[in-house]
Amino acid sequence: MSERRDDLTLMELVARRDAGALDALYLRHSPLVFALCLRVLRNHAEAEEVLQEVFWELWRSSGRYAAERGSARVYLVQLARSRSLDRVRLRRRRETLLADAGGPAVVAAELGNDARGPSALSAALSGEEQRQVRAALCELSESERRAVTLSFFEGLSHAEIAAQLGEPLGTVKTRIRRALLRLRRVLVGVQDGGNA
């Protein structure tokens, strides 16, 4: 049975309140979900909390998943990115409030927890699919890649990216759009892992 069909069966079981099925999905996908949470949040404790939230949400709201809209893995990744970005935005709001109050403005991000470090599990990810994603990112110029990364993984607004890169807002906006459309041409049509 392919991974995707197997996932679909597990998702159906989760919808019927089968905790064992949720555990199986967790064991299969938590390394990728956790890595994404770490990548966005850059904080180990918060990434652990969001990882738990993502699977808890899957448990409580499994009926929201629609198989025809993508694999379970894509669904989990979308959920993880969305919840992680919510946290990042909340953290920024708090930091702004603290700064306004004259308190410590920035909480130092935890170092040494970068999700891009080597992992024994990297082989578990479909090599071909990962290669295609990396190839898609390599199609971009360094400045485009940087802008897309700040937007996609760090949830920065265009204005924040412009401020960080020291470039005009309009330039940043155009660059992100152009980069995304180039990525689309490569990524759309790349089959999701385990579809075979």
């Binding site: 956790f34 699977f55 808890w56 898609a136 937007s151």
Partner: protein, 250 residues
């Protein structure tokens, strides 16, 4: 604009990179239920999610899996507690009506029902006690004192909060019997002051009340716990000043 021409816009829409006028136009079109564009949107969302595959998987600590399993077990137990009939003195009207109706027809059958109800009540109490012990014994447990003297009330309470599983066990003691037609209701409030109802506290003969519940997920690091006297047991927001109050914090 044709659906084919909308493809790029749909990708930017999925990436939240469209300006308001374009976004609104696309939303209106999607709201019409265009299957082609809805399909293209799903395709775009999936393609964007694949960007996440750029990250190298990282094995999460085992404690996350354990906490998730604990949370599910707690939810299951709470569901069991809620589903089981209350104790003999608190048996609900449906059980009483059913037992009474059947008693008129078959006395032996009613007796069997009553026995089953008693067994389920004992089971319920056992589950409740076991779950409460899990909360109290958790290494992630926070103990919050909930007091009333400053509010001119003699009762007091203790909240045991397992912040990893979200399980809460509240125990109030030395409580005055509520005024006629009123009940005690337990509330949480988040850091923004929004009230979140936890449940009704039913006093036992020893002036004590316990409640097993879950901490609302919107309560992160800080909040408050309070008990009020309410005329409406189903009130969704407190209508009276608290008789007991405590601060939730780390």
């Amino acid at each position: 604009m044709t659906c084919e021409e909308r493809r790029d816009a749909l990708f930017l829409f999925a990436a939240e990179e469209l300006d308001a006028p374009e976004r609104d136009e696309l939303r209106a079109h999607l709201a019409e239920g265009c299957p082609r564009c809805l399909g293209a949107l799903a395709e775009s969302q999936a393609a964007l999610a694949r960007l996440a595959l750029e990250v190298q998987p990282v094995e999460p600590p085992a404690r996350v899996r354990k906490a998730l399993a604990g949370r599910i077990a707690l939810e299951t137990r709470l569901a069991e507690v809620r589903a089981a009939p209350a104790g003999e003195a608190r048996r609900d009207w449906r059980t009483l009506a059913l037992a009474a109706g059947l008693a008129a027809i078959v006395a032996a059958g009613a007796s069997a029902l009553a026995t089953r109800a008693r067994v389920r009540a004992v089971e319920r109490d056992a589950i409740e006690r076991d779950t409460a012990l899990n909360v109290i014994g958790s290494k992630y447990m926070r103990r919050v004192e909930v007091s009333g003297p400053a509010l001119g009330f003699q009762g007091r309470g203790l909240l045991y909060w397992d912040y990893h599983s979200g399980g809460c066990y509240f125990r109030a003691t030395e409580m005055q019997p509520p005024e006629a037609g009123k009940v005690y209701v337990l509330w949480f409030t988040d850091s923004d002051g929004a009230p979140l109802r936890a449940g009704v506290l039913t006093l036992g003969p020893n002036h004590e009340a316990t409640l097993l519940t879950e901490m609302p997920r919107s309560i992160d690091m800080t909040g408050q716990v309070a008990v009020t006297l309410e005329s409406n047991p189903a009130a969704i927001a407190p209508t009276a000043q608290p008789v007991l109050h405590g601060e939730l914090s780390f």
